[in-house]
Symmetry: C2
Subunit: 140 residues, 2 copies
DNA sequence: TAAAAATTTGTTATATTATAACATTATACT
DNA sequence: AGTATAATGTTATAATATAACAAATTTTTA
């Protein structure tokens, strides 16, 4: 148990627990309706917890979906350096951990030589499972 | 004048014109209020035009800002392959055109060997102009 | 340990972003 | 000309996110 997980507040723990239980990214209002039995009543309570969890790298925001997913890479931190693959069909999201790609992104400089603090990369495609389903369907 | 620009409808042209006139990305409701004098009255008219313009690659959505920016690279098309640099301070956005980076992204395969149709990459940092301003401020 | 500072909470209201639904009109295709 | 496709105009509403403020809790520092 590291410092960060110890220092989470009650609402932050509730929200993180819910996100971690889900394989797919979850939406803020879905979180809200699912944690109301635990005493979280209103959007700001959810969004505050989300903001904090994002800040400390426990979760990430999937920008193209307005959704939130637990970090699958232990050492994610701010400023964020995140890479995801997103299925266009089922919308499942996987966090990609590819050292070579990370290095390419970390080393990237723009034409001015500007160094960037962080990045977010989202790849779009069809996941294996959805691709198989599509093949099934063409057989009939 | 290519086929695509010829085939734009009235509302699509109005919205594209406004976006292209702006150096910074613009928000949907800012577009709406700025084109009301041209006869666009309601959000769906703006969002429909945006959807079409995105589809044909004339504009891109800046996911982390819920904003829209004109394409600066002539051959952007669907499925999208976009790279931006975004200033954390002034929120200015530049579309990056870097063949080497493009190749890295195009060639990327996940662990399963899955090929991706498209991607969106957003780099975050401080632009040259904002960096200079910060240096100015520390001098006093 | 007591005061001060920082963080988190609870709450109400509201702002911002985006889409559903449906009738109508314009454009492109054969 | 007749059909299909795309775009328009409109009203209403859904979905996402933040402002503002008082109260309670936790952490820090003296
Ligand atoms: Zn992560
Ligand atoms: Zn899938
Ligand atoms: Zn482009
Ligand atoms: Zn800047």
């Amino acid at each position: 148990m590291d410092k960060k997980s110890k220092s989470l507040s009650k609402n932050q723990k509730i929200v993180l627990d819910f996100i971690q239980k889900n394989k797919k990214p979850v939406k803020a209002y879905s979180i809200l309706s699912n944690v109301q039995k635990k005493g979280i009543n209103a959007p700001p309570q959810v969004y505050r917890a989300l903001d904090k969890l994002i800040k400390i790298g426990k979760i990430h925001r999937v920008e193209s979906q307005n959704s939130f997913v637990a970090c699958k890479i232990s050492n994610c931190d701010t400023p964020h350096k995140t890479v995801f693959s997103i299925c266009n069909s089922c919308e499942i999201v996987s966090e990609i951990n590819d050292p070579k790609l990370f290095k390419n992104l970390k080393d990237f400089r723009d034409k001015d030589g500007t160094v960037f603090d962080g990045y977010n990369l989202e790849f779009f495609g069809t996941c294996k499972s959805c691709k198989n389903k599509q093949i099934e369907n063409t057989k009939h």
